[in-house]
Symmetry: C2
Subunit: 284 residues, 2 copies
């Protein structure tokens, strides 16, 4: 059996940080499990975040109106993307598991990591109009957000000052990772390590190590499979009428975003559903 | 009366783009209304997105463990932030109105604009532990997202393939803009202009111009005021028990994020509530 590969996309400036300590645990533990572990250290390599014309080698299709999405789609097809993007794309292709390790900045990833998403996940490589969500290009890969917060856990509850963390994670987990097909594992959230005594931080690292040991058996989060929708412009990419009727009888919405005017399914973006078959995020 | 100032933070690579056409309308119309309009053209100025040690002039407080939030807080106090950050902060200080103009990338702002948020909105300048949300530093300023999408409007409904746009906008509008105190005006969403005939795009621009004429009278979106919460570590930054009890009798949650296990208040992040007094986003 071929060796498995894990990619960790890492965004912290300091090797002395808690994020770096988490990274170390991940590398150790995954290596011990037989993974080849690749780390993309975005700050150390000064990864460019800005999506610009320089990402395309050679002429543009339409130099009069630069459209980044279009131009990078063609450049991907013709292998004319800049070398830093091509290198990251090769890593993603080789990986069965991609972990994003970062401190939460403004309810999201730091700009350098947003730049990785904007530039690496080009049309054609990471998605197409036919291949998205549970039919997406990376549907045989797993991805996961692992991040530290400044806020405490209760601040990110539905009755906490910042509101429900499940809502905050939707654009990243549904809109980015699952959009490209990734099976998304529950996020690993390190709540406010900076305000924790050293023993607390050490316990967090050990809990992470323990989780990593069982990671391969984890079920992914639940999203809404494409088959529920009429994926045509005529049908508006909306839920099929018979599905909508059936779902409207349920006490909860389908997902955090597909709530249908009902209460959100609890912990939809933070915990894998217990009552589904392994890996069947597409069998709602 | 002193002249009013508007700041437009702009993130598109091409002056021939629809985003640039929207920017032109904004500049024209706001100028006509007597605003001094400042444009921060992030790509044209090659604005740095990455949050690094270079953002601090002189020595670090803790060179052994670089913590960006801490170091920039001190550097702001001591006027030792890099000149590009200080310049943007001056613009924000002068502006009564800040408009973010961009194409939606991965359910969020492009990395270069995320970098603007990460680097410019430093602790001390944009928020403090005492001053946030409706008590935030920029509570007398208005802010607004104005963006184009690739997706159609129905794709971003709660029963559409991408889920509810109100959920997608939460981290930006609540977690970033309102966190700093901004009164957030309803977003201006240009749905899929690239797939629209020229006449459709022209109509979108005219609708935008018409909206701008009435912008000063618009009510902001509704968020959860700090006064509803026990803002102490002992109280967990959670809703006060008596508030929670009262809100649980209501048919809807308070906001998209503060849903309390109830259906989300419809259009909470896309439309100003009609039944509130002008400007009273803090009087739920």
């Amino acid at each position: 059996m071929a060796q498995k590969t894990a990619l960790i996309v890492f965004a912290h400036q300091s090797p002395a940080s808690f994020n770096a300590a988490v990274l170390d645990v991940s590398v150790q533990e995954l290596t011990q499990q037989g993974y080849r572990v690749i780390v993309s250290d975005l700050y150390a390599t000064n990864f460019r975040a800005n999506a610009t014309r320089d990402d395309i080698i050679g002429d543009l299709r339409n130099p009069d109106l630069f459209q980044y999405g279009e131009e990078t789609m063609w450049a991907w097809k013709e292998r004319r993307l800049s070398s830093d993007i091509m290198e990251e794309q090769r890593k993603v292709e080789e990986a069965e598991l991609v972990i994003f390790q970062f401190p939460l900045y403004w309810f999201s990833v730091p700009a350098v990591m947003k730049g990785w998403m904007d530039r690496v996940l080009t049309q054609g490589f990471a998605f197409s109009l036919e291949k998205m969500y549970n039919n997406g290009i990376f549907k045989d890969k797993k991805a996961m957000l692992s991040f530290t917060t400044g806020a405490t856990q209760t601040m990110f509850q539905a009755d906490g000052i910042n509101g429900d963390i499940n809502v905050t994670l939707w654009p990243l987990q549904n809109g980015t990772l699952h959009f490209c097909g990734f099976q998304v594992l529950a996020p690993q959230i390190f709540w406010s390590p900076a305000h924790c005594p050293a023993a607390g931080r050490a316990a967090m690292l050990e809990a992470w190590r323990a989780r990593l040991k069982g990671l391969q058996e984890e079920k992914p989060l639940t999203f809404a499979p494409c088959e529920l929708f009429d994926l045509s412009f005529a049908g508006g990419f909306l839920l099929r009428p018979e599905v909508k009727k059936e779902k409207e009888l349920q006490p909860f919405g389908i997902t955090t975003g597909h709530h249908l005017g009902k209460p959100l399914p609890p912990d939809n973006q933070t915990r894998a559903s217990q009552d589904q078959e392994p890996g069947c995020s597409s069998n709602l």
